[in-house]
Symmetry: C2
Subunit: 236 residues, 2 copies
DNA sequence: GAATCTACGGCACCGGGTGCCACAGGGAAA
DNA sequence: TTTCCCTGTGGCACCCGGTGCCGTAGATTC
């Protein structure tokens, strides 16, 4: 049956139109179903709740993000991987700017939808955190850093996305996210992966590490270099 | 009427007991009201929704947090102020460990309550962000840093709170939050008030950053130093 | 003692969400 | 072709959270 996908799309379209025209509270599920030309019962076959009609394929997006993280290259810095995952999430909005903007305007004014969106974001953050946990040792301080790092990346993503939506969804938000993530990961990245090298010899003032590199080097690379340098002279 | 406060407390007590005993979904508002010895209509006079009964004075807490931030000393570093605000939020849980733990166990297993909690947390984060915005210039990069900093502090708070609750709410969580915040603010603080370094001059091979520091220096401090060094020669 | 205010109870109603059964159509196996 | 099954759908009844409205009892004020 080819119409199976149509019904779902018709329902979201009807929902968004009616919400925008008559308001969220004053739009019943009956009205949405009627506009889409199906029965009320069919609506709840496609969406768990009234709010879900606004975020149709959210579960699929989250699953895709999890898949991306699961298949990520194990040698890439973890902070960069979740950064690219943030780009992936952003792309899901940026691929259809018109819908994204309409949904944003709606979400901003309707409380239940806003709460829905917040919980959706928290699920992404949770997925990011779990990914970082898989890559770090289980110490409490590492877990703290993982959660902070995930929160930071999500915050950067949200900032760029919101600014882009507020401006009407014009242009490509990806470069802006890239820049924001560069700024954030420069600080968070090294701190995140900052396990101790060999113990410092506090009594030896000459036991130092010297690093020279071009200005603008990504901080995660700085961290790599410093750790490499630390290990290099480990057996002096 | 002295019983006016009693009814509210009785209702939350009845709700938590019944939720724990019979599950959230299988507990109707009628049952809660009956157990508290009042009518169903009275329940909705005290709480906007069924979930609200579990988080009785959440609005008051948020208001207290806002008040704290509004009356904060203007000369204190912003990152420290929201850190102390996080301690204030933590104290609201830690003041009644038994209730907090019961509520945590409940919240963890019941989805609607978990979503409620998440939106509650997001409100705190929003308040933190707005406070930082009031203290920073309105540039886009400053706003980004504000949001990341607020997210980081909230994440640290959540981590400490959750670990404390998971362990049964024994002991004082404040020292642990203090330590977590020390670790986080050491990285975020300078970055928050510092701003990004100047862009790299890729065509100038002499445009390098040199950092020398004791072996074993935590990586977050390396990042701090590198950024400081980057800014230091900004006007050469 | 009358007026007023506040908290509460009872009631009817709306609407989101679910369970159940029936049915239509299309494809695969007989 | 016939039979069977599977999937998407419609219709119905029902539960329950949440609201509006009105009445009332008790406490307070003048």
């Amino acid at each position: 049956m080819a119409g199976q996908r149509h019904v779902r799309q018709d329902l979201t379209a009807a929902a968004i139109e009616l919400f925008a025209a008559r308001g969220y509270d004053d739009t019943t599920v009956d009205a949405i179903a009627a506009r889409a030309g199906v029965a009320r019962r069919t609506f709840f076959r496609h969406f768990r709740s009234k709010e879900d009609a606004v975020f149709p394929d959210h579960d699929a997006y989250l699953a895709r993000t999890e898949e991306f993280l699961r298949t990520a290259n194990a040698t890439d810095p973890a902070i960069d991987v979740i950064g690219r995952a943030a780009h992936l999430v952003l792309a899901m909005y940026a691929d259809d700017p018109a819908t994204a903007v309409r949904r944003y305007r709606l979400t901003r004014s309707v409380e239940p939808l806003r709460e829905r969106e917040i919980t959706a974001i928290s699920r992404y953050q949770r997925v990011f955190t779990q990914f970082l946990h898989r890559r770090s040792d289980g110490t409490d301080s590492a877990r703290l850093r993982d959660e902070v790092a995930a929160a930071a990346v999500v915050a950067a993503h949200n900032h760029v996305l919101r600014e882009w939506l507020r401006a009407g969804g014009v242009g490509d938000p990806h470069p802006r996210l890239e820049e924001a993530l560069r700024s954030v990961t420069a600080v968070i990245g090294p701190w995140l992966s900052g396990g101790p090298g060999r113990p410092a010899d506090d009594d030896d003032p000459d036991d130092v590490v010297v690093v020279v590199m071009p200005r603008g080097t990504p901080m995660w690379r700085v961290a790599q270099q410093v750790q490499a340098a630390t290990r290099a002279t480990q057996d002096r």
